[in-house]
């Protein structure tokens, strides 16, 4: 109200001046008013909450999830905005735990893991239904997995499931080679020796087939296959007169033992596999409606789902309105009556809606840097927690100058990650591949391994503490040794020999990316006397250059973990081509990871992974920059919604608290704070699995 009086008082002179027929004066006054209006936003008094804060009376949560969903088909889209929608609509075998994102029971009430950690048996609930009333059985999962891996389905996440036996071969339309009655085996052509099979669950024909020594698979495309055969004389001799049999959906390592028992067989051990199954790619889709409607099954008039919510209304680019699904097996524990997703990307618009009380929470990374200082003061609403997501500069190791390890090290050492994080306000410094604070057990393993290596090398602890961190002096020394002498001229440095035209920091056009690039550029200039040019590119153009390792010098990269295991980060530089985009490939590193994943003892495995990480970071294929943070807000009356590392919510835990006395406050401690309703619900849900592991 005071503000509106201020506004009227300020505008009054304009109308008065209008009568004075003085347009110059008018412009001056208009400018003055405008400046007062703009500065007015920061001078307004700060309340307890950010803007209008009234719990909705109709038990609805209004959430901004980011860009418009590509599709409602969970097998196709790999995006995070979509993931949150699928978590409401489609329930998989397991769900992401609300706080730590570790798998909790969903349609599978429990599961067992084989001694080799390469086979899994899931026990499904017998009371789960699609929202049209059709029961959900193990066959729905068999159908869904086969569909997701079929070449027809354009999915960018399929790679996540390539751990499953023959899934990759089916997805990429490969063929088996049949010579007479027998199939050629992978082990005879450079593949791994098969591990002895340990019986796990009932022995069926399919189980016998899937545990036979792995068959050799070749390219499905004739030209590509001819090339492949030509390159290997032994193979060429063996395929002579042989028949090529396409890999079929039925060959993939998934089997319905009975209506409520499902078995998945992998081609290698993968201790994190159950956690991966919460990903949208592994959520079931209704075969009965897909058969009827084909690709139109996702239209709002046809769609059948199995999650805690179902679609009430869908207006693309405006709102996706869900309502509680009465046929959901655990409907009694779904608290919200309605869940509304608004697809918005403009951060200032999102914050405006939040401030106006038109939304109750919004997605991660949505607080503008210019608002951070103000917004972080709202301690009951602002959630900035570590995220399973890192930012780094990949270095092109295939081209000079960064094919020289010394130069890669020098640039990494000359980068002050602590001040970069302070400048970015919401992030933390990163020195490795894997973010710290996300995998507590792995953090311990890393500390242990680091201490072991320190002792092996006989380095003093205080020197070791700063190893691979910010050390401009060492950086200059290394650079000089590598043939690029750094000269000191007064307070500044110069490095005249360094080929600055052969490098650049390439990033996709975006204010944040530019800010980081300018900051890092300034540091290298200050610490090494080298001014690396900046190159901003449109996103898809940039991606092509980065994926093909066509950039020079540095390319901005971001990586978000797909599942809650450090391997999701360590795999970045595994094999070739890989997602590290540095052109880096090191057989020793690959072997270290393979060995670690074959290790069945989790603690030992983590230590082996930590050794591998230490090794690869000494090869420095990237300059690690920051661990990203969640950086989002929710109204204090929204409960059961936790800032987990992926900002992914199991919606059935979320509720609206109308009693202000029970609202969340000081959300910095939200992970430790006790919420009896939430804890009871989580304990009841996880009890079925706990009973098995005991």
């Amino acid at each position: 109200m005071i503000n509106s009086i201020k506004f009227i008082a300020l505008t009054f002179p304009v109308f008065y001046m209008l009568k004075k027929r003085s347009s110059y004066f008018l412009i001056a006054v208009a400018a003055l008013i405008l400046s007062v209006l703009i500065s007015g936003c920061s001078s307004s008094a700060r309340g307890k909450y950010f803007g209008k804060t009234v719990a909705p009376t109709d038990n609805v949560l209004r959430y901004v999830t980011g860009s418009e969903p590509e599709t409602l088909d969970p097998h196709i889209s790999s995006g995070q905005p979509e993931a949150r929608i699928y978590m409401a609509l489609f329930e998989g075998l397991v769900e992401y735990g609300p706080k730590d994102q570790q798998p909790i029971p969903a349609l599978a009430k429990s599961w067992e893991i084989s001694p080799n950690v390469d086979e899994f048996i899931f026990h499904l609930r017998d009371n789960a239904k699609w929202n049209d009333g059709t029961p959900i059985t193990a066959n729905d999962f068999v159908y869904s997995f086969r569909r997701a891996f079929s070449p027809e389905i354009l999915s960018s996440s399929a790679e996540l499931g390539f751990f499953i036996q023959y899934a990759e071969a089916f997805k990429t339309e490969q063929v088996f080679v049949k010579n007479g009655d027998a199939f050629l085996l992978s082990k005879d052509f450079g593949g791994d020796e098969p591990k002895p099979h340990v019986a796990f669950g009932p022995e069926t024909d399919f189980n016998k087939f899937i545990h036979e020594p792995a068959r050799l698979t070749l390219e499905g495309d004739e030209k590509a296959r001819a090339k492949q055969i030509e390159a290997d004389p032994k193979l060429k001799a063996a395929v002579n007169g042989a028949e090529f049999v396409p890999v079929k959906a039925e060959d993939i390592g998934i089997e319905a033992i009975d209506d409520y028992t499902l078995r998945i067989t992998l081609r290698q051990s993968a201790p994190f596999f159950v956690g991966l199954l919460a990903h949208q790619f592994f959520r079931p889709v209704p075969q009965h409606t897909i058969r009827t409607w084909g690709k139109d099954w996702i239209r709002k008039e046809h769609i059948v789902t199995n999650g805690p919510f179902r679609i009430k209304d869908y207006r693309p680019y405006d709102a996706l309105v869900l309502e509680k699904s009465p046929n959901y097996w655990d409907a009694a524990n779904v608290h919200l009556d309605r869940l509304e997703f608004y697809p918005l990307e403009e951060n200032s618009t999102i914050l405006n809606l939040y401030k106006a009380g038109a939304i109750d929470a919004f997605l991660n990374h949505s607080v503008l840097t210019s608002w951070t200082e103000e917004v972080r003061l709202y301690k009951d609403e602002y959630l900035n927690f570590p995220e399973a997501s890192t930012a780094y500069y990949s270095m092109n190791v295939t081209k000079p100058p960064f094919n020289d390890l010394r130069l890669r090290k020098a640039f990494a050492l000359a980068t002050d990650r602590v001040s970069l994080s302070n400048y970015r306000k919401v992030t933390k410094p990163l020195y490795d591949l894997t973010p710290s604070g996300i995998f507590p057990e792995y953090d311990k393993a890393r500390e242990k391994v680091s201490e072991e290596i320190r002792k092996e090398r006989g380095i003093a602890p205080e020197v070791w503490a700063n190893y691979r961190k910010f050390d401009p002096e060492e950086a200059r020394k290394i650079l000089t040794e590598a043939g690029f002498p750094v000269k000191k001229n007064g307070d500044t440095y110069s490095c005249p020999n360094f080929p600055t035209d052969a490098v650049s920091i390439t990033f996709n056009t975006n204010e944040n990316n530019r800010g980081i690039a300018e900051f890092v550029q300034a540091q290298w200039k200050q610490n090494l006397g080298i001014t690396v040019p900046l190159k901003s590119q449109e996103f898809k153009t940039f991606l092509k250059d980065r994926h093909d390792v066509q950039y020079v010098g540095f390319a901005q990269s971001l990586w978000s973990g797909d599942y809650m295991d450090p391997y999701t980060f360590l795999g970045l530089h595994y094999g070739y081509p890989n997602n590290g985009d540095a052109g880096f490939n090191d057989p020793k590193y690959n072997k270290m990871l393979d060995d670690a994943n074959a290790e069945l003892d989790p603690t030992k495995r983590y230590e082996m992974l930590a050794r591998a990480e230490f090794y690869v970071m000494e090869q420095q294929p990237s300059v690690p920059l920051t661990i990203n943070a969640t950086n989002w807000m929710k109204k204090p009356y929204v409960k059961g919604m936790y800032p987990n590392p992926g900002t992914l919510f199991a919606w059935k835990f979320v509720y609206i608290e109308s009693d202000p006395a029970k609202w969340d406050h000081d959300v910095e401690n939200i992970m430790a704070d006790s919420d009896p309703q939430f804890e009871r619900q989580l304990n009841e849900l996880t009890a079925t699995q706990k009973a098995v592991t005991k």
Binding site: I38, P316, D318, E346
Partner: protein, 305 residues
């Protein structure tokens, strides 16, 4: 005149196809693909996708397939938003941009014509200076600045209007006003210039000499000639407005076509890009034709050959 209209109508189709062809070429030259994302696809998966979408065919085969579909009016399905046809997307989102666009333009016409005419009739008066300064201001303040300022005043200080998202007539006010500002300013200046020129012309003097009262001179003779510049401006302006305005749509979270158009380019969503480009080019040509026809009614000296 009939043959003039027919000729122009027949020209629209080949012109639109030329525009589509050029756009297709540009999309193909742009690096990156609709399926490329932060994560690299395994080579085998990429090959399967390319095969499925015919991207492994030679370019002329792909061009031929695209053209034969488009000639039949079928732009196919969006590549990004799977299962949604381009025609459906345009049909669904056009009404949003059209509503905001038409309302905004009507507001701009009303305010702009009135202010421009009065300013011209009272040249060098306080109203003339005042309204033209305001118009200058309207032209120079971009709508991504004006929009948030209006939100600040009307949503957060006065609590009168919603800050974003459509829902009820009140939610239309801020986007429409934001959109109208720059057009009002432009129309006011065009009208003022046009009217000033016309008011000094011989036929107005003749009209006055006939003894017509000032009101008839203005409404029956002057206005018709005076607004010709505005009419020329209206054709392309209205077409652009109907097709959406990115900034206003973003600031106020309106599901209009403008934002979708920009996104389609960023997504390399070829069918959607081509569909919207074809739609837009036809729209602009039709509006230009209407403008050309209306000249004849406004100015009897213009004849169609």
């Amino acid at each position: 005149m009939f043959s003039f209209i027919l000729r122009r109508l027949l020209m629209i189709i080949p012109m639109a196809l030329v525009v589509v062809t050029l756009t297709w070429g540009l999309v193909r030259i742009a690096p990156g693909n609709f399926y490329s994302g932060e994560k690299k696809l395994p080579a085998g998966v990429e090959a399967t996708i390319r095969k499925k979408y015919g991207l492994d065919q030679p370019w002329y085969t792909q061009y031929g397939m695209m053209m034969s579909n488009i000639v039949r009016g079928d732009f196919g399905d969006s590549l990004k938003y799977q299962g949604q046809s381009v025609n459906e997307i345009i049909r669904r989102h056009l009404p949003y941009s059209a509503t905001i666009g038409i309302l905004g333009y009507l507001l701009a016409l009303t305010l702009g014509l009135t202010a421009g005419t009065i300013a011209a009739l009272r040249q060098n008066s306080w109203f003339d200076y005042g309204s033209m300064s305001l118009a200058m201001f309207g032209l120079s303040v971009p709508n991504f600045v004006l929009g948030p300022i209006l939100v600040l005043i009307f949503s957060f200080w006065l609590y009168l209007l919603p800050s974003a998202r459509l829902g009820g007539p009140l939610s239309l006010i801020l986007p429409v006003v934001t959109l109208a500002a720059i057009y009002t300013a432009y129309i006011a200046r065009l009208t003022r210039a046009g009217m000033l020129e016309v008011m000094r012309s011989d036929y107005i003097r003749t009209a006055r000499a006939k003894g017509l009262d000032e009101r008839s001179v203005l409404l029956r003779h002057a206005i018709r000639g005076g607004i010709i510049p505005v009419v020329s401006f209206t054709g392309p302006a209205l077409a652009a407005l109907l097709a959406g305005t990115v900034v206003v749509e973003k600031v106020f979270a309106i599901p209009g076509l403008g934002n979708i158009f920009i996104q389609s380019v960023l997504n390399r969503d070829e069918p959607l890009i081509l569909g919207i480009v074809a739609f837009l080019s036809i729209l602009i040509m039709v509006f230009n034709l209407i403008v050309d026809i209306s000249y004849g009614f406004l100015d009897p000296r213009i004849r169609y050959e």
